[in-house]
């Protein structure tokens, strides 16, 4: 039996890519997973994994509060949450509407989810949250500046939340994925040659798999990480360390 068996977990952005990989690992570990996404495909993906699904926009305050309230009403508690929903931003600062969308989903969305989850976990004096940021939030690349800004903000928010909620028995950590094979990456790097180049920039010389991120998330949510909070764990094939040594 897995150490996560029977735990109630919420995963946002779970219809595809990293979120789907995380949901799959948690479901295979025996968790009762609630998969959340604004993308209607989440319904079918959840059925395939034997999970629940909720179609919701994480940047909508009422929708998020309803989502978390519904989970607690159905299951009586919330053991863990993975705030993964996010969007890639534009490469420049010219498109204000696109910048606002990045802010709304990547920062406001994480805040709304985290706040709702912490209200429950603080009251039950137990729980663990993983906020998914990015190695771009640590070492901004020439890619989307607002994407990097929101991901750094999530790392900061996580540290503050962990400091504040440690005394209540709640742990909050950040996961920093590197270049992981996902729909988001395929959209950003549609050319196979570009993706190969990206892999070659990584010390492990390959892209990551969503399930590899999922296993790291499962570690952070589980009892093996019982003394880990406020940290940012990179799952990036060594990319961040290589960048820092440049």
């Amino acid at each position: 039996m897995s150490t996560l068996d029977g735990k109630v977990m919420v995963v946002t952005g779970a219809a595809q890519g990293l979120g789907l990989g995380v949901a799959r690992v948690l479901a295979e570990s025996g968790c009762r997973v609630v998969m959340v996404d604004v993308d209607p495909r989440v319904v079918q993906r959840a059925e395939e994994l034997g999970a629940e699904s909720v179609q919701a926009d994480v940047s909508d305050e009422d929708a998020v509060d309803d989502l978390v309230g519904g989970v607690v009403a159905r299951h009586g508690r919330l053991d863990g949450a993975v705030n993964n929903a996010g969007v890639i931003g534009p490469a420049t600062l010219d498109d204000e509407a696109a910048l606002q969308r990045v802010l709304n989903v990547n920062l406001v969305g994480v805040f709304l989810c985290l706040r709702a989850q912490l209200r429950v976990m603080k009251a039950q004096r137990a729980g663990a949250v993983v906020n998914v940021a990015s190695i771009n939030g640590v070492k901004g690349t020439t890619g989307g500046p607002m994407y990097a800004a929101t991901k750094r903000a999530v790392i900061s928010l996580t540290r503050s939340a962990a400091a504040e909620h440690g005394p209540h028995g709640v742990r909050i950590n950040t996961l920093l994925p590197g270049n992981v094979s996902s729909e988001m990456l395929l959209r950003s790097y549609p050319s196979a040659n570009l993706r190969l180049g990206l892999a070659q920039l990584t010390p492990l010389r390959r892209l990551g798999k969503p399930e590899e991120v999922g296993r790291a998330v499962a570690f952070l949510l589980g009892p093996d990480a019982s003394y880990v909070t406020g940290q940012a764990l990179a799952v990036d094939g060594g990319a961040l360390g290589a960048w820092e040594s440049l």
């Binding site: 406001v108 901004g140 690349t141 020439t142 504040e164």
Partner: protein
């Protein structure tokens, strides 16, 4: 020579204006005020305050830097963002300002011929003399590599 000073603090603005008068390159200094923390736990924070902080700080600096970088063209200008930090814990303001540092870091990579700097200070009142000295010295020394870490002018801000 041009200096764009966006600063509500009259003393700092006057000191910077005088000090940067002799600097032979364009300099833009964006001074954001110390945010007012409501002093409530994160679970009681209002999303409207986060939205206001992102608009008044992150988006404001975004628009300023976009215009400043364009106005500097090919010249070796300097853009400085001065971020005031509240003495009381303020998770939302800290997050937004850390986002500004990351944004500035990316701007440096996109515009390598320009110099950028972020200063975070938790000192009230604003240490005008210290800030003026730091910014002026930086302005007089173009090309000093900046790795993206903010220059922190305080004794450490506690998250508790």
């Amino acid at each position: 020579v041009s200096a764009q000073l966006l600063c509500d603090d009259e003393i700092l603005r006057a000191e910077l204006s005088a000090a940067l008068g002799d600097v032979p390159r364009p300099v833009a200094v964006n001074v954001l005020p110390v945010p007012v923390s409501p002093g409530v736990p994160l679970v009681e924070e209002d999303v409207a305050r986060l939205r206001a902080l992102t608009e008044e700080r992150l988006m404001r600096v975004t628009r300023l830097m976009r215009a400043q970088v364009a106005s500097m063209g090919a010249r070796r200008g300097l853009v400085v963002n001065v971020l005031g930090r509240a003495a009381t814990p303020d998770a939302l303001a800290l997050a937004v300002d850390d986002g500004i540092v990351a944004l500035t870091q990316v701007m440096k990579k996109k515009h390598p011929h320009l110099d950028f700097l972020c200063i975070q200070h938790g000192v009230v009142p604003l240490p005008a003399g210290t800030l003026c000295t730091v910014i002026t010295q930086r302005a007089l020394a173009p090309g000093i590599p900046w790795g993206g870490a903010p220059l922190v002018l305080d004794a450490g801000v506690d998250r508790f």
